[in-house]
Symmetry: C2
DNA sequence: ATTTAATACCTTGCAACGCCAAGTAGTATA
DNA sequence: TATACTACTTGGCGTTGCAAGGTATTAAAT
């Protein structure tokens, strides 16, 4: 890997920025989940996210009132914090759905006008 | 506009992050352009970007060797800095093209698995 | 009883980036 | 000379992803 690729990896990181919150809400709209489970689902979609990114993000979403959580015992190991969407979270998800579609449209507008 | 919407505006800002460099390269792959012209094209695609964002970004891309520029006199006002893609810039654009498509696929994977 | 391993949650410090606001400078018109 | 318009530049701020390290619970192994 040369220097140029390293720089572009950074761009890819930046590209994901903002879409992460959206992805979390999407995943939780399907079913309640705890952090390692969410990490697994993101990995399944080839979106690599690490713990140190996810936990503060979940805390932010909770503080914004978009998520709540409940403790639930694990069959093995410490109890798990299962997050779920609040009503506000569902509303926010709809807004972000639209934002995502808009951004895809905008980029496509620019892409298609290329010669 | 309530507080919740303000928070989500921030998310939209973050969502654009990283895609901006990609958009600049896309625009410049079509024709050389100077800053206010680029701002206009972004605005046409409903992507609002301000000067204070664009100029440092152009400087970064130039320092990375993806862009070069030439001064050109203006019919009115000060001379203009016309940016154009370098060979490296064209290569980077291809990489970012693929990155963009990958990200769209990844998000769609998560979107479609929703019940 | 103590150690080890596995699981889960959280925090700190750093660097990158978009944005706001203000500043600098060239050109033309009044 | 003053004003207006255009174009480029910069400093500080807030947000965020990440690497690295820490804490806590549980069960199995020693």
């Amino acid at each position: 890997m040369n220097i140029q690729n390293i720089e572009l990896d950074n761009v890819k990181t930046q590209m994901r920025r903002g879409t992460l919150e959206y992805c979390i809400l999407l995943i939780l709209s399907r079913e309640d989940a705890y952090a390692p489970q969410i990490l697994g689902e993101l990995k399944n979609a080839d979106m690599i996210v690490v713990e140190g990114t996810l936990y503060p993000l979940l805390a932010r979403l909770k503080n914004q009132g978009l998520l709540s959580y409940r403790w639930q015992e694990s069959p093995q190991g410490p109890p798990r914090k299962y997050y779920c969407l609040t009503d506000l979270g569902h509303e926010a998800l709809q807004v972000l759905d639209r934002s995502w579609e808009e951004m895809v449209e905008q980029i496509n507008t620019i892409r298609k006008s290329r010669n």
